[in-house]
Amino acid sequence: MPRAIRGVLIECDPSIKSIIMNINESEANAYVIEDLDDSHLVVQESKVQDLKRRLDDHLKETIPEIDRDSDSDRDVKQDKKGW
């Protein structure tokens, strides 16, 4: 008899996934139900919002803010590099 587990399927890049796994480990596996493959995993439904917030925080730390009041072409290039 198969088992059906309620959860949320998350599809993301491998890089993001590894961040999520990192968060998961630091929180004693409170989030992830099943690690499916490189780009998929199933997490607890109740924890999704929390996870998203934490992921955002994490990304904000790693992605640099870009100087915004710029109007020259050079800056446009910088913008492109930024993302």
Binding site: A4, I10, C12, H40, W83
Partner: protein, 493 residues
């Protein structure tokens, strides 16, 4: 050719209606005509026209031959829309007679009436015999409609809080319209303070082109009326009748007076609302005639003609401090944006997703940046909305260049980048549902996963691990399937 985007709300609304409603709707030739014109993809129109004067049912096998194999997708799409709108009826497959389709009786006779004329349905409006005031010309009507509609938009935009309330002394739309906007959750009152706040639906609304905005509002109105009727309030209006009156308005001629006397009681009740929306104009001196405005007569127009219409609109509203609807955005591949406008409304809308740098008389320039787009996305505006806004308001020159160079209207770089910026914020896609695992044997797994795939609820599968994920909605069906399987298995044993 797919149904254009802005008619999708209407088609969603229509497709929810039951068949009996359609039968009543199609009693009016103007309605059948308007739905034919506005709601159908090109191939569907061709099919309907081919069947209109055909004495016998059209065999599906003949249709198969008639439509080229390369256009099978369009054909299937056309048929499904035609069925959803109850325009055609397809016989149930059975062995003796081949499957065929016919136009539904009401639609057929109404569309015939629309093309041939005749009958006494009066569904294309009864012109007023009374003398028309000299000052009510097309320019006047355009100006009137523009003002009414701008008031509504300003009310929505002001709630963003990006610009100060207008100083030109207009006091915004009527309370009934405000209520409607709130009921439709385009704006909402946050907390105890009386300030209005725009919602995501409100942004969607703002970024649409005028025609879709009108439809959005009208559909809200229809739904509100439905709702009120259900709760037992007697509004004297019925959504079916309202809808067919709207289609009637769409087939009227701009600049001509029509008689209110010929209207039925419920329709006369609708008139004050339509005046509030700016769809019709009633002169003060004589309340027995009404004039449809451009907002009404273009309700069932196609996209490209709307472009020319809005150009005419702009021309008519010159001297009113610019027009919100002018096709006046130039987008360059270096992310610069130039908007030829001085209307505070359009500037406010642009400021939602664009870093405005400079403002001149009738020109604002700015740049799309990651921040500006992200800010918009955080507010709930989607990348697609931004793109479609830019596309609908693109400058005539961009249309020309795109048409002559056979390129897409907006630079592809920019379109992709806007989408990428949005994706930036959505590093993961989430789907609620169920993970199935621990199957007894591989055969069982395969049969269940195939079933899930067939009914279209499968999200992810891994045959090696013997696991798959289905959407929330699919659970009951898959569960039943597994149960049946087990029963069979037990019975087999």
């Amino acid at each position: 050719m797919s149904v254009n985007a802005n008619s999708s709300q209407l088609s969603e609304y229509l497709e929810r209606l039951p068949g009996t409603t359609f039968r009543r709707l199609y009693q009016q030739p103007s309605t059948a005509f308007a739905i034919f014109r506005r709601m159908l993809p090109h191939l569907a129109k061709t099919i309907v026209m081919a069947m209109l004067y055909m004495p016998t049912p059209f065999l599906l096998s003949d249709l198969e031959i008639w439509v080229k194999p390369t256009a099978k997708r369009q054909k299937d799409q056309a048929l499904s829309i035609l069925r959803a709108l109850h325009i055609i009826a397809v016989t149930v497959p059975c062995r003796e007679t081949p499957q065929s389709m016919t136009l539904t009786a009401n639609f057929k006779s109404s569309l015939r009436f629309a093309l041939e004329g005749g009958g006494d349905h009066n569904s294309f409006g009864v012109p007023s015999q009374l003398p028309i005031a000299a000052d009510v010309d097309i320019a006047f009507l355009d100006k009137y409609a523009r003002k009414k509609w701008d008031d509504i938009l300003h009310f929505v935009v002001n709630s963003v809080g990006l610009i100060d309330s207008r100083s030109d002394g207009s006091n915004g739309p009527k309370a009934s319209v405000k209520d409607l906007l709130m009921a439709g959750r385009l704006v909402e009152r946050k907390g105890a303070s009386s300030t209005m706040n725009i919602t995501q639906a409100g942004f969607t609304f703002l970024l649409q082109e005028a025609n879709s905005q009108v439809w959005t509002l009208l559909l809200l109105w229809l739904e509100a009326a439905d709702h009120a009727n259900k709760e037992g309030h007697h509004t004297g209006m019925e959504s079916v009748d309202m809808l067919s009156f709207l289609f009637l308005l769409a087939s009227l001629e701009l600049g001509r007076a029509y008689s209110t006397d010929a209207l039925t009681e419920p329709r006369r009740n609708m008139i004050p609302y339509l005046v509030d929306f700016g769809l019709i104009y009633i002169p003060h001196h004589d309340r027995r005639q009404y004039f449809p405005t451009r907002l009404a007569t273009t309700l069932t127009s196609s996209e490209s003609s709307l472009r020319s219409v809005s150009a005419g609109f702009t021309a008519a509203s010159e001297g009113m401090g610019g027009a919100q609807d002018s096709n006046a955005i130039i987008l360059e591949t270096n992310f610069r944006m130039y908007g030829y406008t001085s209307s505070p409304l359009q500037i406010a809308v642009l400021a939602l997703f664009c870093d405005l740098k400079m403002r001149f008389q009738e020109l604002v320039s700015g740049k799309l940046t990651r921040q500006s787009v992200r800010r918009a996305v955080d507010m709930g505006i989607t990348a697609d909305q931004i793109i479609s806004y830019l596309a609908t308001h693109a400058h005539e020159q961009m249309h020309r260049v795109a048409a002559s160079a056979k390129k897409s209207l907006l630079p592809t770089v920019i379109v992709d980048q806007i989408r990428l910026w949005q994706l930036d914020t959505e590093r993961m896609a989430t789907t609620n549902g169920f993970l199935f695992k621990e199957f007894d044997d591989y055969k069982e797994y395969i049969s269940v996963v195939t079933f899930a795939d067939e009914i279209g609820v499968l999200q992810w599968r891994n045959d090696r691990k013997g696991m798959f994920f289905i959407t929330y909605a699919g659970l009951s069906q898959v569960k039943d399937f597994v149960k049946n399987k087990n029963k069979e298995k037990k019975a087999g044993k």
